[in-house]
């Protein structure tokens, strides 16, 4: 019950906000307050902040070179000297973890950017234009969706060849249909609102209406999806690197680190499990923040 009343409230403040910028600010403030009161969202934000901080400060707390091997120090268990132990090349796992986090974050961010750069305009055009344009775009999306997402990414890497750039492109492209469908759905429901009709009646051009009224109102679901997709994209990225299709050694990357430690699972559990736990916690952070944002900004979304 609560969610439906809140849902219509959001739409009304959104309508008034689009007309008067002062109200738009307070709308954002309301959203922000709801987010800061959401325990899961705050916990997720803290995890992500920690992840960013770790990646940014990598040079200052990584005590050792993340790529230089020391064969005399192979597979050392966690200790005061090596807080998370060393891998099969004698490299400090904490240092590799810190630098590897940068790679995973960049892979997540760039691939999500690719998905949205293509999916957002496609979704807006399909939803707003309707008719044959919509039909054409959605038919293309249907074909796109005939390939399971991760498999599509793997297929694209197969065509372009392994490597970090191709992995980001592949994950980005395979995420386009999801973005396009969500944006189109949101635009379709906004298009029916009275304020769009008013804007059209007073002679607003399609470009103006999309920019001033449609786009600001799809921002909330887009933000939610963006956060959740970041988690998914990071997972896909480390998955492909685990298979050996992403970063090439000796570059530190979490998925590749898990793969490298596999052979020593029995004698040195920390080599594989620690980077895996880092992935798990980071993705959980993005999912918690995304779920919290959804509860706070758009209770109608599921």
């Amino acid at each position: 019950m609560l969610s439906s009343t809140r849902g219509s409230g959001t739409a009304e403040t959104g309508a008034a906000g689009a007309a008067r910028p002062v109200r738009a600010l307070s709308h954002a403030a309301i959203g922000l307050r709801r987010i800061t009161q959401h325990r899961g969202a705050v916990a997720g934000a803290v995890l992500i902040a920690g992840l960013f901080l770790g990646a940014l400060m990598a040079p200052s707390f990584a005590r050792y070179d993340p790529t230089e091997p020391h064969f005399g120090l192979r597979l050392q268990p966690p200790s005061a000297v090596f807080p998370l132990g060393t891998d099969s090349f004698g490299r400090d796992i904490l240092s590799r973890l810190a630098y590897g986090g940068r790679v995973s974050l960049v892979v997540g961010a760039v691939s999500v950017l690719v998905s949205f750069a293509v999916g957002l305009p496609l979704g807006i055009v399909a939803g707003y234009a309707g008719g044959r344009t919509d039909n054409l775009i959605m038919r293309a999306i249907d074909v796109w969706l005939a390939f399971p997402e991760l498999l599509l990414a793997i297929g694209i890497v197969a065509v372009l060849g392994p490597g970090l750039q191709n992995v980001m492109l592949a994950i980005g492209i395979s995420g386009v249909p999801g973005v396009c469908r969500l944006v189109r759905g949101s635009v379709l429901s906004i298009k029916e609102e009275a304020y769009i009709e008013v804007a059209r009646a007073v002679g607003g051009t399609a470009a103006h209406i999309v920019r001033a009224h449609v786009f600001p109102n799809v921002l909330a679901p887009v933000l939610v999806l963006l956060t959740l997709r970041l988690g998914t994209a990071i997972l896909a990225g480390v998955g492909l690197s685990f298979l050996g299709l992403g970063v090439q050694p000796p570059t530190p990357e979490w998925g590749a680190m898990v793969a490298e430690g596999r052979a020593y699972l029995q004698q040195a559990w920390w080599v594989s499990t620690i980077p895996g736990a880092a992935i798990f916690i980071s993705v959980m952070g993005f999912n918690m923040l995304g779920d919290g944002l959804r509860d706070a900004l758009d209770p109608r979304l599921h």
Partner: protein
């Protein structure tokens, strides 16, 4: 219902044709000369010319596609460059393993997901609900390859209950199926929880309780049956996740399925084999979704008539 089936089948024709065009184009989208890439630059000019000719790459694009489609309709997907065997034979050898794995994972996902979702909905806003939803959140965030390794560490190395790799005994299926099914289970748990909560709020539930139907009957006959309809619709989507995830999970457990074949094919730059696998996976996925759609229409008559 018959009209609906025909209509859905008819919709598939353009989708499958477009899929075949995209898969056909894969070879042509390879940056550089696909023949040199496939021979990994070790081929002599004569070998290159021979491969180019056998792949038909020296003919016009439209003719190439026509041949591709014609052969495809006859079940001919070409030959693997690496092994020289027909692609369809390579796939036929591995496909059953992947189907077993995805089916078992789906069973794990549905059983675990429904139980978690029901427990959460019935104990709404109580400790069991929070515990179930935190478990579901964790399940969605788990990197499958890491989860698989942790399971191997615990159940194979320390407890010695289950085999760590291979597909020799039926026991070998358990760890990969749990690893692969966990994420889908989490999504099913979340959806079945919210769906059941929604249904339990309806008037007809109150009516059933008011007329004295016992609580178990209310739950099963009126609650669960209605709540499961939306859950059914995402099972098809989850299948896509399983097919993709199988590539990674098969690599972790040394499971001899299509996923492993695909990864090997990528490293060997074996384009015909990759094309075949992508095509088969897409076809399976489309077929599963068709079945789910039809099942959905069977369960919910409103869909047939819209």
């Amino acid at each position: 219902m018959q009209r609906y089936v025909v209509q859905r089948l008819w919709h598939l024709v353009p989708v499958l044709l477009s899929v075949s065009v995209l898969v056909f184009l894969m070879v042509h989208l390879v940056p550089g000369d696909p023949v040199q890439v496939m021979l990994q630059e070790y081929g002599s000019p004569a070998q290159e010319a021979a491969l180019r000719h056998s792949l038909g790459l020296d003919r016009p694009l439209a003719v190439q596609y026509g041949t591709f489609l014609w052969r495809l309709l006859h079940g001919d997907l070409g030959r693997s460059i690496h092994s020289g065997r027909p692609v369809i034979a390579e796939i036929a050898l591995r496909l059953p393993y992947t189907l077993w794995l995805t089916a078992a994972s789906m069973a794990v996902a549905i059983a675990l997901g429904l139980v978690l979702g029901m427990v959460a909905a019935l104990w709404h806003r109580r400790i069991l609900d929070y515990a179930a939803m935190i478990a579901a959140l964790a399940g969605i965030s788990l990197p499958s390859f890491w989860f698989g390794l942790v399971l191997i560490l615990v159940f194979s190395y320390y407890l010695r209950w289950l085999p760590a790799a291979g597909a020799d005994t039926p026991w070998s299926l358990i760890l990969p199926a749990v690893t692969l099914g966990t994420s889908a289970a989490s999504i099913i748990a979340r959806l079945s929880r919210s769906s059941l909560l929604e249904v339990l709020r309806q008037e007809f539930i109150r009516t059933a309780r008011a007329k004295g139907v016992n609580e178990l009957q209310v739950l099963y006959r009126h609650g669960l049956r209605n709540a499961l309809i939306p859950v059914l619709s995402i099972i098809g989507l989850q299948f896509a996740g399983l097919l993709g995830g199988a590539v990674i999970v098969e690599s972790v457990f040394g499971w001899p399925g299509l996923g492993r074949l695909a990864v090997d094919a990528i490293f060997n730059r074996d384009m015909p084999l990759i094309q075949g696998i992508v095509l088969i996976a897409a076809a399976i996925f489309v077929a599963v979704n068709l079945c789910i759609d039809l099942l959905y229409a069977l369960v919910d008559p409103r869909i047939r008539y819209s």
